[in-house]
Subunit: 210 residues, 2 copies
């Protein structure tokens, strides 16, 4: 088959692939810990995998902590593994209001100027001096997905969520590309509630740029 | 000035009016009570206005109750006045999860098949057999606003919320038209959090139908 015949076929396949639903991952409040912070909270205990997440190598751990803010606290907040270079607590705006902290909207790892929070385990407690954020909504994808969707790492795109009775289009959805990543959109519980994404019929699709 | 000259001017004015920001009203969890239910919870006490709402005649009352569900409770939930024909409790999906009830997405007053909930005041308690809902997002407007926006009571339209760092377009926004209503979009706290609408720079605009 020569190239002139092949190109329209490939183009049609790509067009259809761009319409595929993007798997939705709803992030409940959770935290990542550094080795040092983890060992202070859970001395002499390995971090134990409870459930694998869609992103390869990532998992929800058996261990949980209580987040304590000036106005309130949230119990049984799960640690995600593996341990990281820096500790980071990801909460929703609703959670931030319960705790009484002004957690800003940030990409994972962008922790400069973010507020701290107190962490309490069954064995110890620890005050993080920063690291409390509301996660910027984003899509993880492989370089092949990025080619299909014609986007690049760092782009901001639009995603429609429908089928759950609260249809909306999220703008400002950040693109994260890495060979280790699988296609998945991460939104927090406030965003999932607003979009009806807890409904099993809900699905997300990328809105083509005009 | 003859009609042929006037029409383009009027058309231009209307085009600009359609681009005006729509005032955003964020509804925290609240309830409306019937005369009978109110009197059972607050015997011998008048409902006292604490703060007027934008919609004429509507107000937040001094009186609050505790909502008690099978999984949890929410305290200091405000009664909105005046009293109504039927009692109705409006909560967010986040609240519904805390309480442990499956409150469906409904327009105000559409209470058939909705779950009940226990209400506790400082003086008495009461079990509503139904009336717990998550409110369908909607815009109140006058007939003149409806003419300007070219919409009718019952229409579903799209509204963009931006300026708060979490830009999105809400679809399925119901239009409610009445001579007693002022232009105002009502969303709940989950929706406000997802849209960054708690930011003072956030504003809403109607998305023109194509």
């Amino acid at each position: 088959m020569d190239k002139a015949l092949l190109e329209p076929v490939v183009s049609k396949i790509l067009d259809e692939m761009r319409l595929r639903p993007i798997p939705l991952g709803v992030s409940n409040r959770h935290l990542h810990l550094s080795q040092q912070d983890y060992q202070q909270l859970f001395p002499q205990q390995p971090l134990v995998e409870k459930k694998a997440l869609l992103q390869p190598g990532q998992y929800a751990a058996e261990q949980t902590v209580t987040l304590v803010g000036p106005k309130g606290q949230l119990e049984k907040v799960r640690i995600l593994g593996p341990l990281r270079r820096r500790s980071q607590v990801e909460i929703s705006r609703s959670d931030a209001r319960v705790l009484g902290i002004a957690a800003p909207l940030r990409m994972s790892g962008e922790l400069e100027g973010t507020p701290g929070i107190r962490l309490v385990s069954p064995f110890a407690e620890l005050v993080l001096t920063n690291g409390a954020i509301v996660a910027q909504r984003h899509i993880h994808m492989s370089p092949l997905d990025a080619l299909i969707y014609r986007v690049q790492h760092g782009d901001r795109i639009q995603v429609a969520v429908q089928g759950g009775g609260r249809r909306l289009v999220f703008d400002d959805v950040a693109i994260r590309v890495s060979p280790q990543m699988r296609l998945e959109m991460h939104i927090d519980t406030d965003e999932a509630n607003a979009a009806g994404a807890d409904d099993p019929h809900a699905y997300a699709t990328l809105v083509p740029r005009s």
